[in-house]
Amino acid sequence: MNSLYSRLRGTAVWRSVFRSGTGDTNLHRSLTVQQNIFLHLASVKIRRRALEFGVTWYLGTLSMASFVILVVTGVLLMLYYHPSVPQAYADMKDLQFVVSAGVFLRNLHRWAAHAMVVLVFAHMFKVFYRGAYRPPREFNWVVGVMLLLLTLFLSYTGYLLPWDQLAFWAITVGSNIISAVPAMGAKIRFLMLGGHTVNANALLRFYVLHCVILPLIAAVFLAVHFWRIRKDGGLYTGDKPRE
């Protein structure tokens, strides 16, 4: 098994994909991380303690996992969902009763959305009570606040998409709360809804925000967030480095 794996790692195809070579030295191992666009966001070396459950309760990882589930299920839902009035509601019913596995995908998307909100909050509390927001990690706390806001905006915009009574009145109430902003509240509401009432323009705007703009912004902030963990010296474990 092991020799099969090392034979595989020696093939021309493998070596053209992974340039870092096949050695087992520490140098090769760090090159493996450094030369991979996905892995290089993480540190080359981490403390064993940082991998223990007690440090983070894995809440950040779980938040990321729910985001990945949401992207995958969300993109699949987009294949059957038309953001138009009144088709959107009919599509939701089709997803539930006609499309194979549609109800599974829809429920997975909805449950993962709720889970993500809870997990992101829990992650934030865990960071707070561990004191992991302190310098040099204060900037990553700010990035985290942006990610919390993005999560809430994604939830809010997604909530309108089923175009049922709950969705309609929730967005009516929410957009009226926004018009309480001093001086420009009514204007913000108008731009957000693309009109004076929650209607076809609002549905389309929320759809584009929910499925394109907000996920892209979130992905950028996630990348910065993870890269900063590396740059700030790895996860905060609360104890002095043992080395």
């Binding site: 009226n176 009109g195 323009n201």
Partner: protein, 163 residues
């Protein structure tokens, strides 16, 4: 020590790095302001396909004395009280839900956060900050009851109909 820098024929004699930077940053600033203005204009729709605020509520005879007729679609009630007909907005002054007329309780109730009103619009309880407004109502040339949802009356005004 003789000057070592090779002589370069300058295409633009007055140019230097500072002027280049100033011009560059200046044009970027102008482009930025322009994009903000265009962005704002782009996001504000110029034509809206929203229903007109003026509703034709039909012949006043449809509303017998002592009746309250909800029109949830238009978000209003046509009320025929002792002094005549008036139109009351059904849109809650709290956060905009459409209220419901509850004849068994003799009041208007909002399903969203529980505001309650008398049928003349006065609030009984709940988070609504203002009474439900009376809407401008009149009879047009055909004798139909017309209601303008965009115009709230500042004092009570009835449409009188011959009994």
């Amino acid at each position: 020590m003789p000057d070592q820098t090779p002589h370069v024929e300058r295409a633009c004699p007055g140019c230097n790095r500072r002027r280049f930077t100033t011009a560059g940053v200046g044009s970027l600033a102008i482009a930025g302001i322009g994009s903000a203005v265009f962005g704002y204009e782009f996001l504000s729709p110029n034509a809206l396909y929203e229903p007109s605020p003026i509703v034709d509520a039909g012949k006043p005879e449809r509303y017998p004395p002592g009746s309250v007729t909800p029109d949830a679609q238009s978000g209003l009630y046509v009320v025929h009280g002792p002094e005549g007909i008036y139109a009351l907005s059904a849109v809650c002054t709290h956060l905009g839900c459409v209220t419901a007329w509850r004849p068994e309780l003799d009041m208007v109730a909002c399903p969203c956060h529980g505001s309650k009103f008398h049928i003349d619009g006065v609030k009984i309880e709940g988070p609504a900050p203002r009474p439900l407004p009376w809407l401008k109502a009149w009879l047009n040339d055909e004798g139909n009851l017309m209601i303008d949802r965009s115009e709230a009356l500042t004092r009570k005004q009835y449409v009188r109909v011959q009994a």
